[in-house]
């Protein structure tokens, strides 16, 4: 067995030194976690979800612990595309890994305008969020019906010269049809899944916990469902897939890669262990060695 394990992967022509990407919305623009460890060790970072105009996000409770996971209803609080281009990109560039700008929208016009601005900026990839469950009349609305998604991805593709990832919602009517529609519309890669629409009720107050009533469920609880969705999408599409959903360990990463994922994103686990990115990366190298895996790409899609 070789001493070194090859963890590098390529997605839409973009080289990643390893398949671990910090998931949008859990990692800000990287600077807070960079106080704890060199976040440049990760393959890449997907920025906090941007919108064309700045957003204050949702009122009321925004995070809630659930069995083996959590729910959130942050509501895309962000400084807007312009502020990100002026300040955020330089912050993220110093880490030296793949810079993915994640962007959601409220309307077709917002998506197109934001995407064309980001396409001109110094980002490596654009991750189009058509899957945020926490913003009314937008976000996930584009991620439910394949025809609506096809329309927005087609329009963004026309103005986007950067590699385009489309982030899918598990709340889609049919995740495989959704994936195929996005691929046909010009997505260079797909990432899935975003959070599951879910609910919690405060029985003492006799009211929903979240002002928006529904919120997004993430964490270990969703991992087996996310894995199934990644597996079924990978069987049908030709573009690379980034697996997301309750990944807490190096073993989880191997599961997603064996299911067909080219890379993964880690989100909720960062809250359980703020060093998770670094720790899982170290464990992944050891695990590949003990499993006799010389190159992580050799096990992709074997299941």
């Amino acid at each position: 067995m070789k001493d070194t394990v090859k963890l590098s992967v390529e997605i839409a022509g973009v080289p990643f030194k390893n398949p671990i990407i910090a998931a949008s919305g859990t990692f800000g623009f990287g600077e807070e976690y960079h106080e704890l460890y060199d976040v440049g060790c990760l393959g890449g970072i997907s920025s906090k979800g941007l919108t064309l105009h700045p957003k204050d996000g949702n009122e009321g409770i925004r995070v809630w612990e659930t069995a083996s996971g959590m729910m959130n209803s942050v509501g895309l609080q962000n400084p807007g595309v312009e502020a990100f281009i002026d300040h955020g990109i330089a912050e993220m560039r110093r880490f030296g890994n793949v810079l993915i700008a994640n962007m959601g929208g409220h309307s077709m016009e917002d998506y197109v305008t934001g995407a064309s601005m980001l396409s001109e900026a110094d980002i490596d990839m654009l991750e189009l969020n058509i899957s945020c469950p926490n913003v009314k009349s937008g976000g996930m609305a584009f991620g439910i019906k394949a025809d609506v998604a096809r329309e927005v991805v087609t329009a963004v593709r026309k103005v986007c010269r950067k590699p385009l990832i489309v982030k899918l919602s598990p709340n889609a009517e049919n995740i495989v049809e959704m994936a195929l529609a996005c691929e046909e519309a010009g997505a260079d890669a797909l990432s899935l899944v975003n959070t599951f629409q879910a609910m919690a009720i405060d029985i003492h107050k006799r009211k929903p916990v979240f002002n928006n009533v529904y919120a997004g469920l993430s964490g270990a609880a969703i991992k087996p469902i996310a894995l199934r969705m990644v597996h079924s999408v990978c069987k049908q599409v030709h573009v690379p897939v980034i697996g997301i959903g309750g990944i807490y360990t190096a073993e989880d990463i191997l599961e997603f890669v064996m299911a067909g994922a080219a890379a993964v994103q880690i989100g909720t686990v960062n809250f359980n262990n703020p060093m998770a990115g670094r720790d899982i990366l170290n464990n992944l190298t050891q695990l590949c060695q003990s499993e006799g895996i010389a190159d992580i790409n050799e096990i992709r899609g074997i299941c």
Partner: protein
């Protein structure tokens, strides 16, 4: 800011639902009004729990907490020698270096603990401190304030101990250069309004549900007069005049 494993020195039950866990400090930093994210579990629970610094001693940190949910109930089971994980120190504490003269620290319920380390620091800085401590029924931590305070005022809701009623009834902000407050929002709103009337500087330390604790996830954002702020990173202490309530 560090994430590290430490060891429980003691975990003492103070009242039916108030505990103090003392952990080895291992050189960790701590300032009055800051907090740590704590966890005594692996992934059985998802989130760490924000707990304020009750006392910072040379070799240990003390965290006083109320058992309200799954996390704090697990913490209540801790025994000497058990491992515990800490992330911190988080947030900005009270601006103790800027505070001069005579000060009131006013706390309600489980908002009382961070004011103890604050009173100690202020007294070390030559500030005269009065403590106003409001309880539901059973007292705790009062003796911990005694070395640092010129006067201690106590209230309970039904008058079991001290004044019967709310602790804010006893406060005269005009007697102080600043009021430092922590506790239920309804109490801090009252304090802020009283201080506004007398033009007394007032700081409030907010409690909020948090996920990351370091400013990344925006799970604890609040609207202030100077825009959206993260309680974990920009707070938890805010000037009362910056808050919108």
């Amino acid at each position: 800011m560090r994430y590290f494993e430490s060891e429980v020195v003691a975990n003492q039950q103070i009242t039916q639902d108030i505990f103090v866990v003392q952990v080895k400090r291992n050189g960790a930093e701590a300032a009055a009004g800051q907090f740590y994210m704590l966890k005594s579990w692996d992934t059985e629970l998802t989130l760490m729990r924000p707990i304020s610094i009750f006392k910072a001693e040379e070799d240990s940190l003390h965290f006083m907490y109320r058992t309200v949910g799954q996390g704090t109930q697990r913490m209540a089971q801790l025994k000497a020698g058990d491992p515990i994980r800490l992330l911190g120190p988080c947030g900005n504490g009270y601006p103790v270096a800027e505070i001069k003269g005579k000060v009131a620290v006013l706390g309600g319920g489980v908002g009382i603990p961070p004011l103890c380390e604050t009173a100690k620091t202020l007294q070390n800085n030559g500030v005269e401190v009065d403590a106003y401590l409001g309880f539901r029924d059973v007292l705790f931590a009062v003796e911990d304030f005694e070395p640092y305070c010129a006067n201690i005022f106590i209230s309970t809701e039904k008058g079991e101990e001290g004044y019967k009623g709310f602790i804010t009834d006893l406060l005269k902000p005009e007697n102080y250069d600043a009021v430092l407050s922590c506790g239920p929002e309804v109490m801090m709103r009252k304090v802020a309004a009283m201080c506004a009337e007398t033009n007394t500087t007032c700081y409030c330390s907010l409690e909020h549900r948090m996920a990351c604790g370091i400013g990344a996830c925006l799970g604890c954002s609040i609207r202030t007069k100077s825009g959206m702020k993260r309680v974990c990173k920009d707070g938890p202490v805010f000037l009362s005049t910056d808050l919108m309530w």
